[in-house]
Symmetry: C2
Subunit: 288 residues, 2 copies
């Protein structure tokens, strides 16, 4: 039995949140595309600690998928998601429809420029415009005081932080560390696409980050030297095709040649037909 | 002596508005670029009727001016504005600086696509992106329940209404009729640029709208026929140069050939070096 509130009307969600705010309640929000794994649940548990009311949205947002991407086959399982969310103490699930979110005549988009142009922005043009737009909409509907984002999608996290600052949204963005499988693979709803053999190959993403951190901790500061070593490692792994391996400033997401300030190594690799991403901020703990 | 509150810090404005909301106060907002005339004051009086607290922003927003436009010479007179605002019962003036609104690294823009591409969007590319962006920012800072816009800037009013609906801003947009001089010239801070001779020529904008409404009321429904007559009228007026004369659907702002549904005639005419705009929705009262 569900005790959790499930809302699919924008108007009802908005007025419910407004009434919570008027009662002085603090709202924490976790926007998701559903098909929950331990990564999502960790964000919800974190949100639970930060506020009186935890609201989770489940919405596979069409505007952040390219025309040749996996929007229609993206995994969905609402009943399972609802049960999992209730078990970690979520108060409200917001579950809107496409026709409510993007009605006929829809034409407004939020673009965060510089930080979205590198990394995944290169191979997924328009992706972050879709993300920034849907997050603006969800923030206006759910009216949270704090929103929790996973750092697995590091560029998304940086983009949303930048957008919130630039547009003066009165909202705190909290980043939560990547949750990993026992062998280091970052949790992702897309891992489900991997065959058992590809699942083995997918371990190379985490091993690449480990190698990069090892080189960094031994004093290597040339981005190209680290990138070359990782490239070698990935290329000798079956079923892999590199989209990018980059080392960037962790705030501006511009490529760096020398690691001086806080920098991130980010990679996108196709394993068979499945594109996976991962990242690591140099000097931070890289744990499973 | 000013009894009115004047704030120039974004943080202070935002927390003041949040505390008003928590007290259950209704906030009405009038965003302006200052240099007040009777048009602005009418918006403030309207706002006064609609809410407990009236907040007016004065900010000449650089991102809505093109590189060759009049940003630097746009008229400013803060002391006069403050006195006028206080006299009509405004509670708070928000007066931010450029470095607070667009700090180093700023990179987020809101684009309303279709409605901004026609009319002034043709000769002022980027203008409405600047308007939509600054309004999003101001709405997030001032947190109003209702915002009042003049219909003299009809495309701006339509753009903001569209943006508020699309981005699910929990806010009502009220449009207020154009306020006119005794001879019909729409009030505008830019009228100040006109020489006495140009001021005479400027009357042609209102006379054009009168002519259009006359033709409409006598049964004319062909946009091109009305536009041609107005073109003739303007061309025989000294110091005029037509930017555009268009008849559009009043919601989508797409050109129409036949006036069937609610339509607007909009014009932009340079009088000497000063570009003036005006508009009229067919069938509505056209009064001075």
């Amino acid at each position: 039995m569900l005790k959790m509130k499930v809302l699919n009307s924008i108007k009802k969600m908005q007025s419910f949140s407004e009434s919570l705010r008027l009662e002085g309640k603090k709202i924490a929000f976790v926007p998701t595309m559903g098909y929950f794994h331990e990564g999502h649940l960790s964000l919800m548990r974190e949100a639970r600690k930060l506020a009186d009311t935890v609201i989770v949205s489940i919405y596979v947002n069409p505007t952040q998928f390219g025309p040749k991407e996996d929007f229609s086959k993206y995994p969905r399982d609402l009943d399972r998601d609802l049960e999992m969310a209730q078990n970690v103490g979520v108060d409200v699930i917001f579950y809107p429809t496409d026709s409510q979110m993007y009605p006929a005549g829809y034409q407004t988009y939020v673009d965060v420029e510089k930080v979205t142009r590198n990394l995944c922005g290169l191979s997924r043009p328009g992706h972050f415009r879709g993300v920034a737009t849907v997050c603006t909409k969800l923030f206006n509907i759910v009216k949270p005081h704090v929103a929790v984002f996973g750092k697995k999608d590091f560029q998304q996290y940086v983009t949303i932080k930048r957008m919130v600052a630039d547009l003066n949204l009165d909202l705190e963005i909290v980043g939560y560390p990547t949750v990993r499988e026992h062998d280091g693979l970052a949790m992702s709803s897309r891992n489900k696409y991997l065959s058992p053999k590809e699942r083995q190959s997918a371990r190379v993403l985490f091993r690449s980050l480990q190698l990069a951190e090892q080189m960094f901790s031994r004093g290597e500061r040339h981005a190209s030297v680290i990138i070359q070593e990782i490239e070698k490692l990935i290329k000798k792994t079956p079923d892999t095709q590199i989209d990018y391996i980059k080392i960037c400033d962790a705030t501006s997401l511009q490529d760096v040649r020398q690691i001086k300030k806080k920098a991130v190594i980010a990679l996108a690799v196709k394993i068979g037909a499945t594109r996976l991403i991962d990242n690591h901020v140099f000097g931070e703990k890289l744990k499973i």
